[in-house]
Structures are given as structure tokens and as C-alpha cells.
Symmetry: C2
Subunit: 256 residues, 2 copies
DNA sequence: TCCTGTAACTTGTCTTGACAAGTTTGCCGA
DNA sequence: TCGGCAAACTTGTCAAGACAAGTTACAGGA
């Protein structure tokens, strides 16, 4: 009977309210949440709605609990979002390092076989691709070879590739990448990568291949990033029986 | 297959049934699932139960959908549960390969400095550790150096280290690891690892350091796994703005 | 032919009610 | 004081129903 027309779903509001209580410190790790029955009263909703909100927090790993056990705060969730996960710039700034970039190439060309398969394009379809050398405090650490479908890639021409985060700039132009599949491998540095990164040939390099998609699951980007093996690690956090994980890049020698 | 028909929640059974239809190819990526109403009839449950099952598949990224839009299969999913994620044996069997193991060492000794920090133990506390060489179809691909806290490690003496999955065997003895933090790095193979894996020295190797915890978040295991770089990759799937990811090991040259 | 509006269908949200299964609490007896 | 047992409490599971909001299909008119 409540109008609630333009507002968000009730369960989302409740989840957000609880999230903020956790983030603000009102609920510290280890402290118990109110029981479902109490929350039902506090928010004046049915138990199903409360449970929907709690399920969201549980999926984020913010709370733990079980049958007969009142939910307990696990950690004060530091909001990791997609940008942070795949954006070198955002990550570096958050770590207190200074990121920079040098674009080595930006072109529009027919898609090659591999990218065609990953982006689900017909062979020969035009795409945009660039190669960038990324640096931390002036030291080269990453060679980035990205490929974008034409509709998105066209926007790259208006972006400052050597400036801020490409994802950020694309986001400002209405391109939202919200899902990605990434594959991590250890390879030996080839001649070009070795000289760009300033390491000996055949040094171990961390290769991350990324296929990024929009909300509909349409692949828009296909990239190969190559990190100096002596400078980078990738950490994965996963919990429960479900394969969900928080992923964070971490510099191996620098900040700990 | 374990009995499983005993008293598993109905929604879990439905989710599993749908998962298998997807994995078996009966439902291919792009094809629509039956509507909730139809599933309600097929499984003779209420709509809430069906939705609970679909929510699980959605969290795993297997299906997509939205209001008024019938769910659609996204991909034939791999990684399913924590065991698969960290258990070489389970993963290999599911991929149709034959895993085997050779235990090189198993000992009880005082904890070293690094493991003490990871396991949050006092320096000098006794722990159990082992080194295993893992093989796929007889070919060595992984050197595993694991450290367990004493209460868990003691159980290793009753386990068949060269037989099935250690996690499976520990699970049967009441030790449930449900959370892990893993760090992935590319390093050069040292002399010992190189000869064990049968690759040249300084070959690229994928190192996975793992800190595994029980439901209360207490660290029970600290391990360093080293995979042949030419044989293994790790794939991460993450979606939404939330840091959830499906993680699946995948053989680079062999399987698939 | 093209477009538009409506009806049917589908999923999202929310409620109420019930029982099962596990945990916590506190009382009582030894 | 200690141990065990039972009641109270809590979460997990499931049902049935109702309405809102979005999508699809189709008939009919311009």
C-alpha cells in the first residue's frame, strides 16, 4: 500500500543502511547484527525482505552466519568495484603511487583472428586498438595492448590516453563495463616487452588477458596486459562454497 | 556420486539440475531457460524455491535476465565450489584428466617466520608441512609446499597423501576450509623446482600462495604452489560492481 | 507496409504463515 | 560448583498469493 513509486526496492535500502552502519563503525567486525525478527520490526517489512537484504551482504562477504546463529560482521567492507579491479590508474592512486602512461600506438584496423573470436566479431570487422606503456613513479611496469569494438573504440579518439583512467573516461561517455573474464599466466618476456619494461629477455612476466563486457554481457574489450613479474602480484579472495572473489592488484616490491 | 538425495534443500537440487543441463550441453549459451512458472510445475515447488535456485545460478554468472525477460544461458560454467578452486584432484578429474601425486616429504617441525605470520602463530610453534609433486596424466606440473596448523596437520598422518584430494580427506575428518586468500605471481623456476617439474632453470612458473581459513576466519593452512608456466593458467570471472569472481584453473596446452 | 496499442506473459518485489534445524540461555539436580 | 537438559530464540526452507513493471506477440488501423 505504500506508494514508494520512484524509490529503490525496500530490500536494497535496507542492505545499504546496514552497509553504512558497518562502514561507519557503528557495527564493528565481530559484533552481531540484530536478529531478522528485530530488523523486521525496525524497518517495518516482512521477513522475506529482510532476508533478501542480508543475502546481499552475505554475498559481499560482509557478514557471516548460519542456522540458529545470528549474523556477525566479518569486516568493514572497503568498496572494491570493477574500476579498481581493472583500472591501473585508480589502483595506483589508491596505493599512493603516481601512475603515468605513454601511448605507443593507436589505430583503427581490421580485427585479427583471436580478437574476433573473443569479441564475437566477423573476421575483418574494423576495431580500435592501442598499445600503452604504464609506469609507476616513472618506472615502466606494464605493457598494455587493448582492443575495443568500433563503437567504443571511436570514443578513444576523444580520450586523453596519457592522462587519467581510460575506463573512467569511457564511463563518462556512457560506456559501462561491469563484467570481465580474466586469464592469468606466467610467460617469458619477449624481446619487445623486455626492452619496454627494462628487464632481461626471458624474465618471468605476468600476462593478464581480459575480456570485458557491458551489462548485457556483450564483449566490448579484449586486452593483453603484461606486468613485470618482479613488481606485481595479484591477490584473490574467495569465500563460501561459491566462487566469488575479491580481486586486488598488489605491488610486490613497493607498498605492502 | 555421494547419496545427496537424502535431505538436500530443494532449491539446491534444482540449481544443480539446471547446472548440469547447462554443462551437458542440453542448454547452450544463448538459449532461454524455462520460465519460472514452468519450472515451478516441472519441479513441483513454489515459485520462491525456484527463484532461490535461479539466484544461485545468477550469482555464478551462469544465467542472465531481468524483469520481464526470460533467463538466458550465458556460458557453460566451469568453477563451481571452493573445493574445485583449490583442489587439484577435483579439478583434474572434472576436466577428464588423471591426477596423481608423489609425496616428497612430510614432517612436523617448528614453524618458520613467514608461515608463523600467515597462520598467526607464535614463532616456534610446531606445525605440519609436506611437499608434493602433482602430476596430470603422469606428467609433473605442480610442486606443492603446504603448511598446516598442528591440530589439522596431525590428521594428515591418517590421510593417503598420494591418493585422493587432501581437502576431501580433511573434510571427512571435520576440517572445513571455506575461505581463502590467494596471491598469484610469476617467478623464475629455481633449481629444485625446475628439475622436479622437468623444465629448464629460469623458466616462467606460476606461483600461487594460499592462506586458507575455516568458517570462523581462522587460518589453518599456508601453502606455496608452483605450476609449470607453459601448462597452466588461472581464469577469474568477476561481474557487477561487486568483487565477486569465479576462479577456474585451466590447463593451457592440454585440456579443452 | 508500417506503426500502434492492447493483451498475454514473465520476472521483481513483498506479505503472511508454517515448520525444521541449529544455538543460546538458564534452571535444576547431583 | 558443575553438568546436563529443556525452553526460548534464531536462521534455513518452503508454500501460496498479490501486485508492479517490463517484454513479447499479435491484431487492427493508417
Amino acid at each position: 500500500m505504500p506508494s514508494r513509486s520512484a524509490s529503490r526496492p525496500r530490500h536494497a535500502e535496507i542492505a545499504q543502511a546496514l552497509r553504512e552502519k558497518i562502514r561507519s563503525g557503528e557495527l564493528t567486525p565481530g559484533s552481531p547484527l540484530p536478529s531478522e525478527a528485530r530488523l523486521t520490526g525496525q524497518f517495518a517489512v516482512s521477513r522475506g525482505t529482510v532476508r533478501q537484504a542480508l543475502a546481499a551482504l552475505r554475498a559481499e562477504g560482509l557478514i557471516a552466519g548460519g542456522r540458529g546463529r545470528v549474523p556477525v560482521v566479518r569486516r568493514t567492507g572497503l568498496a572494491q568495484n570493477f574500476d579498481q579491479l581493472v583500472s591501473f590508474s585508480l589502483w595506483a592512486r589508491q596505493m599512493g603511487r603516481t601512475p603515468s602512461a605513454r601511448t605507443l600506438e593507436l589505430s583503427r584496423r581490421p580485427v585479427d583472428a583471436e580478437a574476433a573470436e573473443q569479441l564475437e566479431l566477423e573476421p575483418g570487422t574494423p576495431i580500435f586498438s592501442y598499445t600503452r606503456l604504464r609506469m609507476l613513479d616513472g618506472e615502466p611496469v606494464l605493457v598494455e595492448r587493448a582492443t575495443f569494438v568500433e563503437t567504443v573504440g571511436r570514443l578513444l579518439l576523444d580520450c586523453d590516453l596519457d592522462g587519467g583512467s581510460v575506463y573512467e573516461q569511457l564511463g563518462a561517455r556512457g560506456v559501462e563495463l561491469v563484467e570481465a573474464q580474466q586469464t592469468i599466466a606466467a610467460i617469458a618476456a619477449g624481446g619487445e616487452d623486455a626492452s619496454l619494461l627494462g628487464v632481461p629477455r626471458r624474465s618471468p612476466v605476468l600476462e593478464v588477458r581480459r575480456r570485458a563486457m557491458d551489462a548485457e554481457g556483450v564483449a566490448l574489450e579484449w586486452s593483453r596486459d603484461r606486468y613485470r613479474g618482479d613488481a606485481f602480484e595479484i591477490t584473490i579472495h574467495n569465500q563460501d562454497t561459491l566462487p566469488r572473489a575479491g580481486v586486488a592488484l598488489r605491488s610486490a616490491n613497493g607498498g605492502r
